[in-house]
Structure formats: C-alpha cells, structure tokens
C-alpha cells in the first residue's frame, strides 16, 4: 500500500485533506528549525589555546650531546637549535645557561642565564636557528675553566623566568593568560636541550690565564 502523509494527517487530525496538507507542510517546515529555548544562549567557539614550540632535533648542531672544544680552533663553540612553533605569531625566547646551578644561594638573585636569543615570526612554523657562539677568551666565560660543563637551552613561546620552587631553581614560562584568582587559563610552554662541553687545558682566556 502506498504511504500518503497528507491522508494520514487528515485522518489523525480529523480535518479536511487540504488543511491537513497545509498543517503537514507547516509541521514539516518547522521540524527543520532548531529554535533556542528561552535562556539557552548559543555559546561561541572556544578561544584557540596556545600550542608548544618544538626543537627540530634532527638538525641540532653539534649533534653529539658530548662536545669537546678544540684548542686548535680557538676553543670556539657554535651551537644551533632549529625551532618551530605552530602558532605563527608567537615570539620564541631561548634562554642559554652554562653550568646552571639549581641550588639557590641565600641573598643571591636567581637568574644566572648567560644569554637570551629571540626568534621573531617568519610567517611559517619554522623559525630558523636559535644559535649562540660560546668562547673561552671572553671575560667571565664559564667555559674557560678546564673540565666538563653543562650548556642548556630553554626554548619557550613566552617570556621565561627563573623561580625558586621549594628550594630548587627552575626555569618557567610566564603564563599567557591568568584568571582573577591567578589560575592559568592559557599557559606558555618551555622545552629544553643540553650539551656537555669538555674544555681542555690550553684554551685561550681573557687575560691569558688558563
């Protein structure tokens, strides 16, 4: 038997066929509309959240985690850290530490970073190399002392700070957005990389004293 919606509506509603057709069409049309209930507002899309930067480890230079300075090369060390970030407008901050001592000393300030590198927007995820040249012949060079040193790079998509957390110094990014109570709504991120650097005897120093 062939199904006829208008006839079914006429029987159910007890109305004429034409009026039932009109009622059916109206009901059919209205069924396609989602009418908001009173007080039930449509919520906007959530804000895009920050995403972390990334160190492209394949092309970090030097590739080895243990690096020896060459006296014949003047004990100059060039470090390169390719960085990418999916958030194209983020300013990338790289804080470099040499022999970062995580033990706070009473009365001493906490931030002992050696240098800071910034990577501006390039319009692409790849931001290029965060690079630094370390030497032993500059005044105060922590690499000048013969022996093993730890060089660390902290990469963040926000500004970095060194804070004392329960007696241990840690490198943290300042949050991007906080609520009124100080809770973090949108965090910044930090990733790190490290090399052990062996300084041999005989590297040039400022003042010529080994």
């Amino acid at each position: 038997m062939r199904f006829r919606p208008a006839r079914l509506a006429s029987l159910l509603l007890g109305q004429g066929l034409v009026r039932a057709r009109l009622t059916g069409l109206l009901a059919l049309g209205l069924s396609g509309c989602l009418l908001p209930l009173p007080g039930d507002d449509v919520l906007p899309l959530p804000d895009a959240k920050n995403r972390p930067p990334r160190i492209e480890e394949l092309n970090v230079t030097p590739q080895g985690r243990i690096v020896s300075l060459d006296v014949g090369n003047g004990c100059v060390l060039q470090l390169g850290l390719p960085v990418s970030d999916p958030d194209l407008e983020d300013l990338i901050t790289v804080r470099w530490f040499v022999d970062f001592d995580t033990t706070p000393v009473e009365g001493e300030p906490d931030d002992t970073s050696f240098s800071e590198t910034l990577l501006v927007s390039t319009g692409r995820e790849q931001r290029g190399n965060a690079s630094i040249t370390l030497r032993t012949n500059t005044a105060g060079s922590r690499l000048a002392t013969p022996g093993l040193h730890l060089v660390e790079a902290y990469v963040s998509d926000g500004r970095l700070q060194v804070v004392n957390l329960d007696g241990v110094l840690v490198v943290q990014p300042l949050p991007r957005e906080v609520d009124a109570d100080g809770g973090i709504i949108d965090p910044n991120y930090v990733v790190s990389y490290a090399w052990f650097v062996q300084t041999p005897v005989g590297c040039p120093t400022a003042g010529g004293v080994p």
């Binding site: 014949g72 090369n73 240098s115 692409r124 040249t133 012949n137 105060g140 922590r142 120093t205 003042g207």
Partner: protein
C-alpha cells in the same frame, strides 16, 4: 687602596659625522691594526673614543642602498651585487649522519633547487709500524692496529669560509679501520689511541662533497718510543695529595695563540708522590733539543698554579720540576658597585694570578650577592700580578673591568670596586620606505675586541619599540648588528664599533646613536631540495643562504636567510634586492 681598571683610556675625540650623515670620513686603514679595513658603519656621536681616537675612525663603505650602484645593495661589508657571492648550506639530517652540503651559487635565480649528493664519508685505516729488525735495523712490517681509538677533526667549509665544523668518533677495538660521516670541508685533527704510550697522531684531510675519502694513519713502532719520568715539587717538597695534568710540546714552536700538536698523550701525576711518565717519540730525545712540559692542577683548580717548564728530555734522569709559589690560599672580599654607587648584583667575580716565576692561576668564579658583596678563595701571590675580574650580567648597565691588587697571605677586603658604564647605544631601524620598523629583532654580535681591550662577553638581542628604536648597553668592541624584521623583509646587517664612555661621577652616560639602519627590500627565492636520485623530495632540510665576504683581509660569511623544507621538499626565503 687604589684600583686600576683595564678599560680603554678615554678622551673627548668624538666621531665627526652626526646621525644621518651620509658621508662619514674615510681614514687611513693602516691605523686600524688588527681591525684593518673593516668596513664599519658608525655614526655614534655620543660614543667617546680613546686618547688616540681609538677605536680608530672607521672606514665606512656605505650606510644605505642609495650610496651604492643602481643594482647594488649595502651589505655589512659594503656595496655588492645581491645576486653574486652567494653560497648555500643544505643540511638534510645531522642525526642520521647526513651532514651539511655546500653549494656555491654563481648567479642567484628566483628558483634555486638543490640536488644532494650521497653522504660524505671519511674511511680511515690505522696501521702500526713493527719493531725494527735487531740485525739489520730495518723497520718491521706494518700491521693493522685493532685497539680502541678516538678521532677528532675540526675545520671549516671549503665553500663558505669561516663556517666551523667539527666531528668526533670513539670506537672500541675493531679491525684497524674506522668510518666517519662528516660535512665536506678542510679539516685537521687528531687520532688518539686508548693505549697511553702511543702519542696522538695529527690528521689533515679535505673531504669532498659526496665522496668517500680514504686516510691511513700510521702509528710509531713501540721501539721508537721512549719514556721519560718526572716529579713536581712545591717549594721544597713534592705536592702531596694534588693531581696535575702533564702535557708535552715542542719548544721550537710557539705556544700562542695555538699550542703545537702534543708530543705525547697527556697524563696525570700520581697524587701520592706527584710523579709522572710521558711516552715520547725517540726522535725527540735523539734531537737533543728542549721540550716544554705544562703542568695544570685538576684537583685544586685556581689554588695551585699552572706552569710551563722548558726541559731537556733524558730517559735516564728523573726531571725535578718546581712549581710555585704554592702557599696557603687566602680569602679576598669586596663589593661591586656601579657609577652611582649602587650594588651590582649577580656579577661574576674571579681572580687571575700571574706569579713572578711565570706560573698562573685562575680562582673559582663566585657571584656577587644582593648587596653586591663577594668573597673568593685565591692563591696567595704577594709579589706577582693579580687581576680581579668583575663581569656583570648581560643586561646590566655596568660593564666588566679588571682591578689589580697584591694578594697577601692574610685575608683581605678590597672595598668597593666601581665598575665602568657600558655604552648605551641606540639603534634605529626603518623600513625601505623610511617608516619606523617596530618588532624588528636587533642582534648585537661581538666579533672583535678594540685594541687594548677584550672581546665583549655578551651578545645582546632586543626587539625594536613602536618608534623603531632600541637602546642596548654594550661593552666596547666591534659588533655585527643583525636586524631581522621577519617576513617578508630580509635580514639586514651592519658592522659598528662601540667605544667606551666617560662621564662625571654620579652621572649616567648619555645615549649614543648608531646611524639609522634602513632595511633592505626583499626578493623571494623558492626552490626544492631532492635526494641524490634527483626525484625524492626531502623534508625537514635546513637551507641557509650566506654572502661570502672579505673582512679584515679574512674571508668569512654573513648569514642572509634560512628556511626549512616542507613535506614536499619546498622552501622559501627572502633575500636582499634593490
């Protein structure tokens, strides 16, 4: 107590050209000494130079594109064709042993594709000469050396001068050969055996792109090595309980700026009696010439001195080497303050001691407290020279200095050490259309010292404000200013000399201006990087464009742009153009 800083002397010899001046004076380059012919751009009229006009007035090639030919661009090294003198470093995957490959670009095109070659490899074999025949004296047959070795090479690209590279390999006992992946370039280095009796063997090799270069290293026969013995003494007695590193060098070659290759593997003294042994080539003994032996403390760094001795090696005699002075360490304390008398916190402090006998010692480094005070253990050295280095943090307005004091046998305080100011230097960046360039990254990279000064310790990086300016507090020195405005404009570089400043006590120095840096216009260069098969696109490849330049009669490079290939092997960079 008086303090003398080692900062360059100052006078009121101001530079002649003001900010915005287009024709700075050209001075005799011969006066530039080591900095000769650096084509430097500076118009920092509030930067005060030394008594002889030092830093010397600088030869300025150009300050902007308008001073160059119609198709030229003003680079850090002067006007140049932006399409020539370009070299590109392409790095596929360092981790996988696919190291950098270099390409010289004869004429830059809008599309620059790169087809890589197979990995560059050093194939080494290690042989050892056999002992001589006792009857005939003829050298014995060579055999493969199958024990553990380490190989270190360092050098630079053959195409991009000044681009340093180093590689190293350590391997356990194998069949007398080694394989090392490396970037192409010219290298020197050392092969060292785990057997301490065999002296390190120097290596010189040039690695061609994509080639497998063979190298044979020949170790000396055991009967051509001779052991000499020695003992370190303090004032009268051997140095009990301390360990020193002992090295041997030829005395006929200078130790500065780079010491010659070692004659023997370095060794440690016996902590019980300070005795040591060195295994030297017998030929060195037979030559009858003196050698240098350097002793460096490793267990008591800074509180015992490093000393170099010139001795005649004799296997029949125990060398007696007196090091000194060796005395009880003393404590040095003081306070670091800036020109306004405020404490300088978190500065690095250490002491260099040079004794009358030619020994030297560098103390451990300490940091100044929140009130600027410090305390450091030092080698007592009453009659020698003692320099107290104070190096503030990179962002501080106070600069580094060295103060000289006699260091007695008792603890002493040196009082307040007043640090000189760093030179406040304003950099102004404008777009090619002369509009302020905000949010441009300005990097001040120290590349050389001024005469009589030391190489600046810190690189500084800041982003320009809305008016396109930034003020950097810089140590006196030669800097390369790299300005990276971000896409789509290219990176622009200039060289500047920053002198020291002189101000009345209690005043801060005025800000000096480097002449305005106008950013170069950019052209987009795109391309594709493919594997050696010519078809397979390579993703994640780092591509860096350099300009090959000559500075101070030294060939070097300037980074122009860098990019990484996408999943299709494609890259895009912005390079300078007119």
């Amino acid at each position: 107590m008086s303090a003398a800083t080692k900062s360059p002397g100052t006078s009121e010899a101001r530079c002649a050209s003001g900010p915005g001046s287009r024709k700075p004076p050209v001075i005799d380059p011969a006066r530039l000494g080591l900095l000769t012919v650096l084509p430097l751009l500076i118009a920092a009229c509030h930067v005060v130079f030394g008594p002889d006009g030092y830093p010397p007035p600088l030869k300025v090639e150009c300050t902007g594109d308008e001073q160059c030919g119609p198709s030229e661009v003003c680079f850090a090294d002067g006007c140049g064709d932006p399409g020539r003198d370009i070299a590109v470093e392409v790095t596929p995957n360092n981790r996988a042993g696919q190291h950098a490959q270099d390409f010289a670009i004869e004429r830059l095109q809008a599309e620059q594709d790169f087809r890589l070659v197979p990995a560059t490899v050093l194939l080494g074999s290690v042989v050892r000469t056999g002992d001589a025949d006792p009857q005939t004296g003829a050298a014995g047959p060579s055999t493969l050396y199958e024990q553990a070795i380490s190989v270190r090479i360092f050098g630079e690209s053959a195409i991009i001068p000044g681009l340093h590279r180093s590689f190293e390999l350590t391997q356990a006992a194998q069949g007398g050969s080694f394989t090392m992946s490396a970037a192409s370039g010219r290298y020197q280095g050392t092969l060292t055996t785990e057997d301490p009796s065999i002296p390190p063997q120097p290596i010189t090799v040039e690695l061609q792109p994509g080639a497998q270069t063979e190298l044979t290293v020949t170790l000396p026969a055991a009967d051509r090595l001779t052991v000499i013995r020695g003992q370190l003494f303090g004032t009268l007695l051997p140095l009990y309980g301390d360990t020193f590193l002992i090295e041997a060098f030829s005395a006929t070659q200078a130790m500065q700026p780079v010491p010659p290759p070692p004659l023997a593997q370095a060794t440690l003294t016996n902590p019980v009696n300070a005795e040591f042994e060195l295994s030297l080539p017998t030929a060195v003994i037979e030559a009858g010439e003196p050698i240098r032996i350097r002793a460096t403390p490793v267990s008591v760094l800074g509180l015992k001195p490093t000393q170099t001795f010139e001795v005649l090696p004799d296997p029949a005699t125990m060398l007696q080497l007196q090091i000194g002075p060796v005395e009880i360490p003393t404590t040095l304390s003081g306070r670091a303050v800036d020109g306004l008398g405020r404490p300088v916190v978190n500065a690095t402090v250490y002491v260099d001691a040079l004794t009358e006998t030619g020994a030297s010692a560098r103390s451990a480094s300490v940091r100044t407290n929140a009130d600027g005070t410090f305390s450091v253990q030092v080698l007592s050295n009453p009659t020698g020279g003692n320099g107290i280095w104070v190096v503030p943090q990179a962002r501080h307005a106070a600069g580094q200095a060295q103060f000289f004091y006699p260091l007695g046998r008792d603890s002493q305080s040196v009082g307040d050490l007043v640090l000189p100011w760093r030179t406040p230097t304003r950099v102004t960046v404008v777009s090619p259309d002369e509009l302020p360039a905000d949010n441009a990254l300005v990097v001040a990279e120290p590349i050389d010292a001024l005469e009589g000064g030391s190489l600046p310790t810190f690189r500084r990086e800041e982003v320009t404000a809305a008016d396109g300016t930034i003020v950097l507090w810089l140590e006196p020195g030669i800097y390369r200013l790299d300005v990276n405005p971000g896409a789509p404009l290219p990176r622009t570089s200039r060289l500047v000399a920053v002198g020291s400043t002189t101000v009345q006590p209690g005043q801060q120095p005025p800000v000096g201006d480097v002449s305005t840096i106008r950013l170069n216009r950019g052209r987009t260069v795109t391309g594709k990087v493919v594997a050696a098969d010519g078809e397979r696109p390579l993703s994640g490849v780092m591509v860096r464009f350099f300009r090959v330049v000559e500075l101070n009669r030294v060939n070097t490079h300037l980074l122009l742009a860098e990019a990484t290939t996408d999943a299709n092997g494609l890259y895009s960079v912005s390079l300078p153009t007119r």
